[in-house]
């Protein structure tokens, strides 16, 4: 059963990629890069582990003339949870929105630098900013299910509106995604109902399922529990634990306890700069930088 599902996932990925010609170009690119990766395969195993899933190089971002991010450099390991923390306005949300090129959708906003995801620089001139988002899932601060769509269509929206029509495949991915978002048991008998009838926490898990349906390589979560009550938040946190088995998760949070609970690595940011990036345990018990220590202990922020 398990291996069957994996196979159908592969099929879905294949269909998605075949669907748009532009994407095919990207695929070629990815292939080239993975060629170079296979060369490095001959090197010792440990070195393999060091190839980061997401690699940010000299990333800068602006809102109009105001610089929001100052030369960010950061590597994120595969299948881990990385938390971005820092006081309001430190740029953590801007940074996560740069990782799927969502930042530049805001009028007047721009970003410069490299974000290499699985070997592809998403800021490369030949990359289509619309299509690259299919490979990177995003969950927002407030649950935002599509109000006119059923639960089923919400989850299938990304695939359907990108041209996938195979009902059998859609059914399978919808079920798989809802299970992945720990929502299947609660909604399996009301897939045709509006997503707006769900509770806030369920809506947020629906949004997670919607992102998972695209089978992303990286899942970005921008303060996903900020609009939820503690019970719903803890469900999402537990879910994040499960998600990292399949995905690389990056989560922005204003809640330090949450960062401590869910993440493997933590990034502390302040005034648009990356101050410290270390394993979460180290950040919270023995941070390198004094600024981090002061923020963690609640002396400012």
């Amino acid at each position: 059963m398990g291996s069957d599902e994996d196979l159908s996932n592969e099929n879905a990925r294949g269909l998605q990629q075949r669907e748009a010609e532009k994407e095919r170009e990207q695929e070629i690119k990815v292939d080239k890069v993975s060629d170079s990766q296979t060369q490095s395969k001959q090197e010792p195993e440990e070195k393999q582990q060091l190839v980061p899933k997401v690699s940010i190089k000299n990333l800068e971002a602006w809102f109009g003339s105001k610089q929001a991010l100052k030369s960010i450099n950061l590597d994120v390991r595969e299948k881990t949870v990385t938390a971005f923390i820092g006081p309001s306005g430190c740029g953590k949300t801007t940074l996560i929105r740069c990782l799927n090129r969502m930042h530049e959708m805001t009028p007047g906003a721009k970003a410069k630098g490299q974000v290499i995801i699985d070997g592809t620089d998403i800021y490369d001139r030949n990359i289509d900013a619309v299509i690259i988002k299919r490979r990177i899932g995003m969950v927002f601060q407030k649950p935002n299910p599509f109000p006119t769509m059923s639960i089923y269509d919400n989850v299938a929206a990304g695939l359907k509106l990108n041209g996938i029509k195979d009902k059998h495949l859609l059914d399978e991915i919808v079920k798989d995604s809802l299970e992945g978002a720990a929502l299947w048991d609660e909604v399996k008998n009301e897939l045709g109902k509006s997503g707006m009838g769900l509770s806030g926490g369920q809506q947020q898990r629906l949004c997670i399922a919607r992102a998972l349906a695209m089978q992303p390589e990286v899942l970005l979560m921008d303060e996903p529990t900020s609009a939820l009550d503690p019970m719903a938040s803890s469900k999402i946190e537990n879910l994040v634990h499960d998600l990292k088995k399949r995905f690389t998760v990056i989560i922005v949070t204003h809640n330090m306890q949450q960062a401590a609970r869910v993440s493997d690595d933590t990034v502390f940011m302040y005034l648009g700069e990356l101050i410290e990036h270390n394993p979460t345990k180290k950040i919270f018990e023995n941070p390198e930088k004094e600024l981090t220590e002061r923020y963690i202990s609640g002396k400012f922020g």
């Binding site: 969502m102 935002n144 006119t148 509106l161 990108n162 045709g192």
Partner: protein
């Protein structure tokens, strides 16, 4: 001191509520009395013959308003077929694509001017451009004139309604890599559906009752519709003609025609709403396992 302020606040509260209720009563009573007057006077004239026959000789007391009903349906239908899509897409442009440059700002400005333009001016525009050019009063000219009334209303309402749709909907679509046109057509527009539809219904009701531009364009006739390039009758024109005759039966016919016009607009509005409501969610389930 404190108590006096409290009692003053309570008094003001009562005064404002009373004024609000009074205003509602005035508008309801006025509209209600007009509607009742039309129904009482109009019902007398209603009959199968009245609905289907062409107007009889003046003073004969015979005939009906069949061509006017048919003409109104044709002209308003054609107007909607032209005006609604143009208006909706222009509204989409202003809300989703235009931003805040000089060009969209001037489009908005002239659109507002167009909303406020007297309808007879638009009738003259249609007369000068289409009637004279084609050499004949025509359905096309009438639909063109009425479109000029309908489009700015639909543009305005569509833009305003689309702007109310939260940006988080667009962002959710963008984050899934959905192309912009599909985000607009499949996510944003459906979310704004009832507002856009209300705007279209409002515009249809407005143009269905227009008289002045029709005098300049479709002229009015006693005959049934023959072609889109020829004249046709319409209910507001017929009401105007009947009301200007010196016979009691003609006045009754006029009331009857007015009642039919009101019922047509009402029926259309209800019908469109029902249609929009019905196209809700399809029941979908996945076999478990």
């Amino acid at each position: 001191m404190m108590e006096r302020r409290t009692s003053r606040r309570k008094l003001m509260n009562k005064v404002v509520s009373a004024f609000a209720i009074f205003s509602v009563l005035i508008s309801v009573v006025l509209l209600g009395s007009i509607l009742i007057e039309v129904i009482i006077n109009g019902a007398r004239a209603l009959s199968i013959n009245f609905l289907t026959q062409t107007p009889g000789a003046i003073g004969s007391g015979l005939g009906g308003v069949g061509p006017a009903i048919q003409g109104t349906l044709i002209v308003v239908g054609l107007t909607t077929a032209i005006g609604a899509p143009v208006g909706v897409f222009a509204g989409i442009y202003l809300s989703e694509f235009a931003g805040n440059g000089i060009f969209p700002a001037s489009v908005r400005f002239f659109n507002d001017v167009l909303v406020g333009l007297p309808s007879i001016v638009l009738g003259i525009v249609a007369y000068v451009t289409l009637v004279i050019a084609l050499g004949s009063f025509s359905v096309w000219a009438g639909a063109f004139a009425l479109s000029l009334i309908m489009i700015p209303i639909v543009v305005r309402v569509t833009e305003e309604t689309l702007k109310i749709v939260p940006n988080s909907m667009r962002e959710a679509g963008q984050s899934l890599g959905i192309p912009k046109r599909k985000i607009i057509m499949n996510i944003v527009l459906p979310a704004a559906k009832s507002g856009v539809l209300t705007g279209i219904i409002l515009a249809i009701s407005r143009v269905a009752g227009e008289t002045a531009p029709l005098i300049m364009t479709i002229l009015g006739t006693d005959l049934y519709f023959t072609s889109l390039t020829g004249p046709v009758d319409a209910l507001p024109l017929r009401i105007w003609r009947l009301a200007s005759q010196p016979y009691q039966y003609a006045h009754d016919f006029g009331w009857g025609a007015a009642l039919i016009l009101i019922l047509l607009v009402l029926g259309l509005s209800l019908g469109l709403r029902l249609l929009a409501h019905k196209r809700g969610f399809k029941i979908r389930t996945i076999a478990a396992g």
